[in-house]
């Protein structure tokens, strides 16, 4: 093929990307209880009132709000963030349903249909897969499956709102203990206006028999989603937690500012996996979700372990650094990430590993894949405090570029205040080579299949960390996200 033909072919394929549809872009027609746009104290009081919250929680929100008002939006990330009009956002929208849902029959059929379309058939989940699901639709949790089975073990897995009502002491003890309200701009905003989310408590010595799963969905227009997840794992407990997310295709941008807090006590292990597939915007970069998320785990007790695995393919802008504070001696933190950006998507993502306890260990494996006109950055901090004797970190940050119009960047920060610690960082940047493509095509694969195979191979180390069903979904998602992006 001549150079000109090749160029034409690339353009053709790039055009095809444009036409490849975001599968989850539909809107569900349900009656919603939506409050007026705008951010002020009254709105916060209204949210708190709608959720029938105790005074201390309202105070928590208002305190966060006042702190938020004095904070500037951070601009240090390698992102072009258009101005966000906080007064033009709806901070609470809930599908109108009967208050107490005893069974799935009472959930709005439109809603159930939505979750079925998303591949989250709650009923089947309940019966077959052994995965307990909490589904959050716009601002409220719709239905949590599998609760009975979990209750037998003493595991609490419910919507955040339910937890506030039924387990206020647990929520009050841990809320904000890992991510304080004034941690950062978006965390402060979340702390003021968060509407729902998931709460999970694993008692001492209990290993969760099923994987717990939360599914987030933004549906209503002009609505922000500010959910909160709080996971508390008592001594020697274990839980594997999955999170998925999608949103309708809309021309305007929507804000998603979530917080995930994890507390792992002595000998506890928490594995948190995310497949993030928020609407990424169209081929010109119009629309899409702003995904500004604070995720942090506190490995509080000795020998505790927190592991983050994320596959990030969606959102128009991603600002996200799942982190571990390794406080307990011998505690372990892990971060495995695949971040894909295509068209005009931007991602600035990575991890922080703060070593405080002795003999603490952390691993960071980050695989960035950039295509189209996108910008994909890894940003990470490894900090060894003076007390972190024999702390150990290994970081590997790889970038793969498809085409010549995208960017890949790596910003690793290493702060060591301890002579006995060892910090290792490896980074590579590569392109899919013409020779690799030719080799695959010579064996009978077309160009798309070749790219899929190579990209999946590149990301395999991370995909392998995902629970089985999730890994299969993630692989498909990688293929869809990169459809037509030729190297």
């Amino acid at each position: 093929m001549e150079a000109n033909d090749k160029k034409q072919n690339q353009d053709k394929v790039l055009n095809e990307v444009a036409n490849s549809d975001y599968k989850y872009g539909f809107v569900t027609n349900v009656d919603s209880d939506t409050i007026p746009k705008g951010l002020n104290e009254d709105v916060i009081r209204l949210i708190s009132q709608k959720k029938n919250e105790p005074q201390w929680l309202l105070d928590y929100r208002l305190d966060a709000y006042h702190k938020f008002m004095n904070m500037p939006q951070p601009d240090w990330a390698h992102l072009e963030i258009p101005p966000i009009d906080l007064q033009n956002i709806v901070y609470y929208s809930a599908p109108k349903t009967k208050p107490d849902k005893e069974s799935l029959d009472e959930v709005d059929p439109e809603l159930l249909d939505t979750f079925n379309k998303l591949g989250i058939p709650l009923e089947e989940q309940k019966a077959l897969s052994g995965v307990a699901v909490d589904a959050v639709f716009d601002s409220v949790s719709v239905k949590t499956t599998f609760q009975d089975t979990l209750e037998e073990k003493g595991i609490i897995f419910c919507s955040f709102s339910e937890a506030v009502q039924n387990h206020p002491e647990l929520v009050r003890q841990h809320l904000g203990s890992v991510v304080p309200p004034d941690d950062n701009y978006f965390a402060a905003l979340n702390s003021a206006v968060f509407s729902d989310g998931s709460f999970c408590y694993i008692p001492k010595g209990v290993k969760s028999p099923v994987e717990l799963s939360t599914y987030f969905r933004i549906n209503a227009a002009n609505t922000g989603q500010f959910e909160r997840t709080l996971i508390v794992a008592e001594d020697d407990s274990y839980v594997s937690y999955l999170e998925g997310c999608t949103a309708p295709q809309r021309d305007e941008n929507q804000l998603h500012a979530a917080i995930v807090e994890i507390v792992a006590n002595k000998g506890a292990e928490v594995k948190y996996s995310t497949v993030q597939n928020w609407y990424p915007g169209n081929k010109e970069g119009k629309g899409g979700i702003y995904n500004f998320v604070t995720k942090r785990g506190l490995a509080k007790g000795a020998n505790s372990k927190i592991s983050w695995t994320q596959v990030e393919t969606g959102s128009s802008i991603t600002w996200k650094y799942p982190s571990c504070i390794l406080m307990g001696d011998n505690s372990i933190g892990e971060f495995y990430s695949v971040a894909v950006t295509n068209n005009y998507q931007q991602a600035d993502t990575g991890s922080k590993m703060i070593h405080i306890g002795k003999n603490t260990k952390s691993t960071i494996i980050s695989k960035g894949i950039s295509a189209g006109y996108s910008q994909n950055s890894y940003r990470g901090l490894v900090k060894m405090t003076g007390k972190a004797e024999n702390g150990r970190n290994f970081s590997q940050c790889d970038s793969l570029l498809l085409g010549d119009k995208c960017g890949a960047h790596t910003w690793p920060y290493i702060n060591t205040f301890n002579e006995s610690s060892i910090v290792e960082h490896e980074a590579t940047t590569s392109k899919i080579s013409d020779d690799q493509l030719f080799y695959c095509q010579q064996r009978g694969l077309d160009e798309e299949q070749s790219i899929n195979l190579i990209v999946n191979g590149y990301a395999k180390e991370v995909l392998n960390k995902l629970p089985m069903e999730f890994a299969v979904e993630a692989q498909k998602l990688l293929s869809i996200s990169l459809e037509g992006s030729v190297g």
């Binding site: 690799q436 080799y439 095509q441 010579q442 009978g444 299949q449 999946n456 191979g457 590149y458």
Partner: protein
Amino acid sequence: MLKIKDLVVTVEGKTILNGLNLEVKPGEVHAIMGPNGSGKSTLANVISGKDGYEVVSGSITYQGKDIMEMDVEERAREGIFMGFQYPVEIPGVSMNNFMRTAIDEIRKYKNQEPFTAAQFLKFMKDKKELVGLHDSLAGRSVNEGFSGGEKKKNEIFQMAMLEPKLSILDETDSGLDIDALKIVANGVNTLKSDDNATVVITHYQRLLDYIIPDYVHVLYDGKIVKSGDKTLAYELEEKGYEWLKD
């Protein structure tokens, strides 16, 4: 099966093949020999459809079809196989997965039912035995960390798996010790049938001790300057290429 007529090929404006003619029929083994830079690899790449080569004039027909109209993968699915001189590594992609994907595609192209997992494993096991490939290689990522010899054996294994009609082996013997050379040659000989053909590109006579060609061609300055039977290879070994220059 393969007919090349008056083929002129340039790379970045430089003429590499300059009026090459070649005809290969089913059941035949052809050896193409020639010094470095004579255009051997270019010939292999043009037949399989690699980018960056401009066919200025002449034609290549394969099974009666003009292959210049066909994409790389279409040629592959039609049964053209290239054994690479430098097989690339594809990290994270297991040989099993790679072959499974390739064979699925080829079977789909031919309107054949896909293999079941069990059928595929059996098929692969048989082919591994046929070419003497260790199990461990097939479980590893494509060519990753393979020694030079392992890479070449892996090419022959893929050739066995894909059951091509026309195989072009580009310097498959380069960098091989005598044992590996025998394994490669044995693979080629075992896979030989009345329906398929092999073109072996080499610049040593050594491989031809193990693979007996029906024809030997000398490629020099972009064209075939002499053809003969296997004795031509011995003659070249003795006299070098200089005597053919004029």
